[in-house]
């Protein structure tokens, strides 16, 4: 089961079993945003409280597989209390981590939408999130891992307007 251990690292299963920041926040001041994985029905709902360019609070709900729920949980922990600019970099770095294989699955040659390639993300520390790297060996599951991040991006775009 070596492939599986790669996918389901202990820290992932831990976030899956004990998700951080579950719950809701009053809307407003929080902004609510949700997303689906059209292929499997997984659902991520984020409540984002952004103030003065900071993600002051975040809560998550929704349902899905271990990977999507762990990714959501790890993301919430990673962005809480961070400046929006830093979160934006984190999103790009995470997507870069996932991107080679995602674009392979999509059939494109790496040029499809991801702008991570051209940016220097060497300095970004992903910490625990790096445990999700094993997902790239399971292309179908990449969308599970990136779902929360796409929803986050959408939420930040909407609050920025």
């Amino acid at each position: 089961m070596s492939g599986l251990q790669d996918l389901y690292r202990e820290i992932i299963l831990d976030h899956y079993r004990a998700p951080r920041n579950r719950g809701e926040l009053p809307v407003p001041p929080a902004h609510k945003v949700e997303g689906f994985n059209p292929l499997c029905g997984d659902e991520v709902i984020l409540y984002l409280e952004v103030e003065d360019g900071m993600v002051v609070d975040v809560r998550t709900s929704g349902q899905g597989c271990s990977i999507s729920q762990a990714s959501t949980s790890m993301m919430s922990a990673a962005i809480k209390g961070k400046p929006v600019a830093e979160v934006a970099t984190l999103i790009r770095a995470f997507k870069a981590l996932m991107s080679i294989h995602e674009s392979k699955l999509e059939g494109a040659d790496g040029s499809d939408g991801s702008d991570a390639g051209g940016t220097d993300l060497a300095g970004v520390r992903l910490g625990d999130l790096e445990a999700l790297q094993g997902v790239v060996k399971f292309p179908v599951r990449i969308k599970c891992a990136t779902l929360a991040w796409n929803v986050l991006q959408q939420g930040l775009d909407e609050t920025a307007v």
Partner: protein
């Protein structure tokens, strides 16, 4: 190993992909409800077209064009006979069941439905029999009424008369691809007719699993796909009564579907070609014909008996082994369901179940199975689904049980 109605070992030998291994383990394919594997006879029939008789159909007078046309139309006749159509021209080849239903929505429904007209669907429906009607609703302002479900996911027909009252169409699946529920189509069609409604049957799951006689159903439209029927993807069929097809306006425009074209307009061709614009999937039609020949040789009564026995076995061993930790949807008895077993396993998400099962070479589907209204009704985002084809036997079910034990171990660490 198998004690079902079929000689499964012999059948398995007909399917080349079943000799494949995944990570050193034999492939246990339990996803036929999504798409079935193909026997050698189907692959050979298609290959023969390309090697010996490939040409566009209905167009050339030269020998190979004539051969291709004869093979193509013979395939239509086989498919027609297989589902009990009165005439070959009642079969329109489409890309898949989805296009067959969209054809009804774009041609018949747009010509016949007015704002406020009602369509009755069931909560078992696959997206293929939901979304075309949502699109039409947005465009035309029709009403969609839903047949509710009983606690074991049969159709709850207690309010059927009221639902059908004044309805223009009933659209219903003959067998659910999630719960396996078999629907009494003839009874529903009779009720719909009595109420003056047309009847569209999504027979995508039924045609591969049981004897189907569209004439006996007395429906108006029946949609199904080749790829679930041991045939290639890329082709499916709409059966409809000839008079209806004749009265319907064309759907797509192009070559083949015309009798004449000028700069001012066009005349349509005879049915079924009126609905087959452009070059069709030629080898695929022939492959679909070979697939129904293959199933005919087995006999659809035997196929149904096999599906029932295997389903009963699966329901029994899953309950025996996992008890309440495994929740199966759909009717309890195998008589009322096809070869599909959808379940929740503890609180482990279907994706994770399927991923671990894959490690053992087992192919089961995880997800919403293109039936999100039903999933909402079940109150779950996704299920794990095992579904059976003529090539599955009890050993495959046993392999699934063994894999689920590993899933349990893995996620309880």
């Amino acid at each position: 190993m198998s004690t079902t109605a079929l000689d499964v070992a012999r059948i398995q030998a007909d399917f080349p992909i079943l000799r494949r291994e995944v990570r050193g383990r034999r492939l246990v394919y339990l996803d036929s409800a999504s798409s079935a594997q193909k026997p050698q006879a189907v692959l050979d029939a298609m290959d023969r077209v390309y090697r010996e008789s490939y040409a566009n159909v209905h167009r050339g007078v030269y020998t190979i064009a004539e051969e291709a046309t004869t093979l193509f139309e013979a395939a239509r006749a086989k498919v027609a006979r297989f589902v009990g159509a009165r005439e070959a021209r009642e079969i329109v080849f489409t890309r898949n069941a989805t296009e067959a239903i969209n054809l009804v929505a774009y041609s018949w429904a747009r010509a016949n439905l007015r704002p406020g007209d009602a369509i009755v669907l069931s909560l078992l429906e696959h997206h293929a029999n939901v979304v075309p009607w949502h699109i039409l609703r947005e465009e035309r302002g029709i009403e969609i009424r839903w047949i509710p479900l009983t606690a074991d996911q049969r159709l709850d027909l207690s309010d059927l008369d009221r639902l059908l009252d004044g309805a223009a169409m009933l659209g219903v699946t003959a067998m659910s691809n999630v719960t396996g529920t078999i629907v009494d189509v003839a009874r529903l069609a009779a009720a719909a007719r009595a109420a003056g409604a047309h009847v569209l049957v999504d027979a995508c799951q039924a045609v591969p699993q049981m004897p189907v006689d569209v004439t006996a159903w007395d429906a108006d439209f029946v949609a199904f796909s080749s790829h679930k029927l041991l045939g290639p993807a890329g082709i499916g069929a709409l059966w409809a009564r000839a008079e209806l097809l004749e009265a319907m306006p064309p759907f797509m425009g192009g070559g083949e579907m015309i009798r004449d074209v000028t700069t001012d307009g066009f005349l349509t061709n005879d049915i079924p070609w009126k609905f087959e614009a452009g070059t069709p999937a030629i080898a695929e039609a022939v492959g679909m014909g070979a697939a129904v020949d293959y199933l005919d040789a087995i006999g659809m009564d035997a196929v149904r008996a096999h599906e029932r026995e295997l389903t009963r076995y699966a329901l029994d061993v899953l309950t025996d082994r996992f008890g309440d930790r495994l929740r199966v949807f759909g009717p309890a008895g195998a008589d009322d369901r096809g070869g599909v077993v959808s379940f929740l396993f503890d609180d482990i998400h279907a994706h994770d179940v399927s991923q671990v099962a894959d490690e053992e070479g087992i192919c089961v589907r995880a997800g919403h199975h293109c039936a999100k209204p039903l999933m909402r009704e079940l109150g779950v985002p996704a299920t794990t689904r095992a579904s059976f084809g003529v090539y599955n036997d009890r050993a495959d079910v046993d392999a699934l049980v063994a894999a689920l034990t590993k899933v349990e171990d893995f996620f309880s660490i």
